[in-house]
């Protein structure tokens, strides 16, 4: 594994781990972080969250990463991985504009 790939993995793993821990805490989920596959669906089958939980997910991202999720957010809130993609992209945008 080259160093660029290692760096990419480390950055992503950091966001994933923080996100999972916060989701478990806020939503009182009966899982360990390693039980939660990143592609697991947040709503419906999968974690089975409802519209009230959606608000907690939005607050979780805001609290953990200081990033706001827009109101029209169905594409972002599909899975942990799609949430992580959004966070990484927003962090990158913030770095560029800083």
């Amino acid at each position: 594994m080259d160093s660029a790939m290692k760096e990419k993995i480390n950055k992503r793993a950091e966001v994933i781990n923080a996100m999972k821990k916060e989701l478990i805490k806020r939503l009182n989920l009966p899982y360990k972080p390693e039980d939660m596959h990143e592609d697991i669906s947040l709503f419906g089958a999968g974690l089975g969250l409802d519209s009230l939980d959606a608000l907690e997910v939005v607050l979780c991202v805001e609290h953990c990463f200081g990033i706001k999720i827009p109101e029209n957010n169905v594409s972002i809130l599909r899975s942990i991985n799609t949430l992580v993609d959004y966070v990484i992209e927003q962090k990158k945008n913030l770095e560029v504009s800083a």
Binding site: I9, M36, H37, D39, V74, D85
Partner: protein, 375 residues
Amino acid sequence: MRILPLHDMLEAKGASFEERYGAQIVSTVSDLKKEYSLIRDGVGITDFSFMQKFRISGDSGVDVLDRLFAGNVAKIRFCRVLHTFLADERGQLVADAYVANNDEEFIVLCESVVDDTTLKKIFNGHSVLQSDETGTAKLEDITNSHVVFGIDGYNAWKVVKDLFGADVLGLPYLSVETYSFEGGPVLLFRAGKTSEFGYLVMAPKENGRKLMEALIAEAEKHGGGLCGTNIHHAMRLEGRFFNIFAEGSRVRDPLPLGLQWMIDFDKESFLGRDSILQRREKGLENKIIGIKVNAADGDLLVGDPIFDNGNKIATVEAACFSHVLNAYVGLALFPVDIAYAGLQFNLRNADGPNVETISMPPIIPKSLSVKLDEM
């Protein structure tokens, strides 16, 4: 082989058939691209009668099912459906199942990788029913006496609304309700795996022909028609729904497949529990993640190896062509330390086409833009 009750009718409508684990299935009805469009833009009607179906009644029926399935059957609320799995003693997947709490009984719909006889042996074996202390659980195999049809697609809700009434719009995902059709009861599950709106309707096979005709007639009003089961492989993969007939039949271990959400780890017993818990304790070595190959770079086949700097690191376990993305998407089993989205590797050999690991699900279905509860 168990023949579909509507075989002749479906054949007359152009269906092609094949055998899967001792049961006949409709593989295709027209070309896959057309069936794909039916579901993504209209509605597809699919014969899912190959599913194994059971009715469990009696006071202790819930305990019997709880000792079989990985999920917590005892916690299923009235009129709700649990999506879970059945494993064998080694904790290897046997069936993907919907368990529905329906009034005084439970209904189980299985998609399994074993034939009817073997599955029934698992249900009856392990002395599950015999060991039931109260002896009041009654298991009835209704596989041959009932049909199950899938209604999936952007307009699926219009078809069920026209047939069963406007209150179907209030059904939450993973719920079940009884309706009437031609004077007989039908059971409607809100439980699709295409990421568009989805329903399964179960009826006594005597009503099957009329129900299928009515479903097709309604579907045609809304840009739909008859589909085979093959197109559901692509739909499930694009929506990142677990498919026991694709990655599930190759990997069989629920943990690398990411099916922990189907398991209640606090339950004292279910088939395969000890093996699954031991593997969980040990930690995962591999896990399945999404991959993509652009159409211009070539195709993607199940079994293809994936290389990193000349070393084989992963294998493709499921694949399909995504018409939405104009790319092949798939699932591959990677070592956990590199099982992350956003990485680039080579397919088939060290200098092979580029394959990218991706976040799943990779598409945004049209149905996400429709809010049924606001209609």
